[in-house]
């Protein structure tokens, strides 16, 4: 198997160009370091170099959801309640909500779910994810309802004016929200319903039988009409209004599963947040001091090879500076404590990768796989951490290769 290796060894330039190029690269490194340092934003008015920390963005709420279990057979009750908890949790976790807890309080009078959330995400998005059951049904128009009645212009929107069909949320394996060209030639968002393989034939036959008619998708009592074309193949797609934010919300609601129980949000309570925030300036000093002391100790006490130590120090500095500079320039909000953990792991990883050249590929590959699993299957902060660590690993790999090239060229040029 061919090994993929980032290498700057083949980059040969004339001595003058090489010297100028090194000066340019050194300036760039200094700029990146300066941007990443705290308080440098105070020296530049035109561009904002503030590190946006999430600490002040957090809010916390407790939702009380009263479940309607009176119509449910006793034998299915517990299963339905558990499924409702699972789907609510899945929705919030997929939305990137940092802390979620869905607890049940079952009594003879009523069954209640308490959803406790702590997040920096948009509160309206989270409200919608918790408070909407989002029960989907494909419906057909009732024959006795006049949909063209000018005195009742909203008749087409109400679920009570439609007949339910056998096709509900479970008919579709996935609902893809994407931008498509509409009848006026402009791009707008559509929800494309993709039926399960087992139900595809029945659904296609249903659509064929409704050619030229208007049917609809009933969601919690409100219907979005769909005109069935007489051409094949038929794409069952309904328009989505509200732009990208609404499409994100709908994608989560459609694709996180079908809640089996009806419920009402009876109470929403704001909770106080216990923020154990870290001072960013203090943290920067701590990381900088730690990196320098650790490398000096390794050099003078552990008697490590000076070439490896200088490479490790430079690569670490480049990685952390680039990461913080990226966060500042892209205005990406971050938890300071999470940044601290990311820096710790990066410093250790870079040291291990440089000092165990023979294990570089194995360690990097397994770390990428582990962080990827964390990103996909993680909960709350772990998801965020996994995603950010993959980016940091990529920056580390680049920094290690670049650090070697830079130091070798510096030695060569300064030695002349």
């Amino acid at each position: 198997m061919k090994k993929v290796k980032i290498s700057f060894d083949n980059l040969k330039l004339g001595p003058i160009f090489s010297y100028l190029f090194l000066v340019l690269i050194s300036s760039l490194l200094i700029v990146i370091c300066l941007i990443s340092l705290p308080l440098t934003e105070q020296f530049q008015d035109k561009v904002s170099y503030n590190l946006i920390t999430k600490e002040n963005m957090y809010w916390s709420k407790e939702y009380t959801l009263e479940l309607e279990t009176s119509q449910v057979p006793e034998i299915d009750r517990d299963g339905y309640i558990e499924k409702t908890r699972d789907i609510l949790f899945r929705r919030l976790n997929r939305a990137g909500v940092e802390e979620v807890s869905v607890t049940k309080e079952i009594s003879e009078e009523k069954d209640v779910l308490k959803v406790t959330v702590k997040s920096s995400k948009n509160a309206a998005l989270v409200d919608n994810l918790v408070q909407n059951r989002f029960k989907v049904n494909v419906v057909t128009r009732k024959e006795d309802v006049d949909f063209d009645n000018e005195e009742d212009p909203y008749a087409y929107l109400l679920g009570e004016n439609y007949n339910k069909t056998d096709f509900d949320g479970s008919t579709f394996r996935n609902v893809l929200i994407t931008e498509l060209r509409n009848s006026s030639g402009e791009y707008s968002f559509f929800a494309i319903f993709k039926p399960n393989i087992t139900k595809k034939k029945a659904f296609d036959e249903f659509l064929d039988g409704k050619e030229g008619e208007t049917i609809g998708v009933d969601t919690d009592g409100f219907v979005t009409p769909y005109y069935v074309p007489d051409t094949n193949p038929k794409t069952f797609a309904i328009p989505v209004t509200g732009g990208e934010s609404q499409s994100t919300l709908l994608s989560l609601l459609y694709n996180s599963g079908e809640i089996p129980l009806s419920y009402t949000a009876t109470e929403t309570r704001d909770l106080e947040i216990e923020n154990d925030s870290l001072n960013y300036i203090q943290l920067s000093i701590a990381i900088l001091v730690a990196i320098v002391i650790v490398h000096l100790t390794l050099l003078f006490v552990v008697k490590e090879d000076s070439k490896n130590i200088s490479r490790s120090l430079l690569s670490t500095m480049i990685t952390i500076s680039t990461w913080i500079a990226y966060l500042k320039i892209s205005s990406t909000p971050i938890d300071t404590w999470l940044l601290a953990l990311e820096c710790i792991l990066s410093v250790i990883l870079i040291y291990v990768l440089i000092h165990n050249k023979e294990s570089q590929i194995a360690i990097t590959t397994s770390m990428v796989i582990s962080f990827f699993i964390m990103m996909i299957l993680g909960i709350g902060y772990m998801r965020i951490f996994g995603k950010e660590m993959i980016l940091l690993l990529l920056i580390s790999q680049f920094s290690i290769a670049f650090g070697k090239w830079y130091l070798d060229n510096m030695r060569k040029n300064l030695g002349k």
């Binding site: 404590w337 250790i348 397994s366 299957l377 772990m382 951490f385």
Partner: protein, 172 residues
Amino acid sequence: MNIFATVLENWTRYELLIVLSSAILLTVIGVLSAYLFVKDKRAVWFSGISSKTSPLIVVLIIFLANLLLSSVSETYSFVFMLTTTLSAINVMTLNNYLVKNRNKKNFDIDFVTREHFSDSIKLIALILLFFTILISFTSGEIRNILIASGISSILSIVINHLVSRILFKDGK
């Protein structure tokens, strides 16, 4: 929210399922990569045992923290993440030493364990220094997480080395 109460009483089936499946997946990947790349029974056992001991140490440390601090939040799951990552790195270095050296003339398994010992000491020194400096600059829960992570990581690496001494004996 207390981590133990949350896990035992409040976790949904979905939460349990994804946490268990990711833990199993990570263990399987560790053991499978040892089997495929090292092709040595001892390395497979080493990876398998290590993937069990480090979570056990973390549970023990979190349990002690729970006794001492009375409340341990879900953020302590990062102790698990840091410890298992550092322990996995430690395991991989030994496995790679084995792969690189076993085909050499006069191959001596003691050389591999000695190299691994030296690497483990350096890693422990790095963790000790880095965590100590950061702990002195932080406070509250973050400091407690760093202390717990540092202790459990060092313990895991020490146990990894002890296990390697037992598994990779000369002549076996």
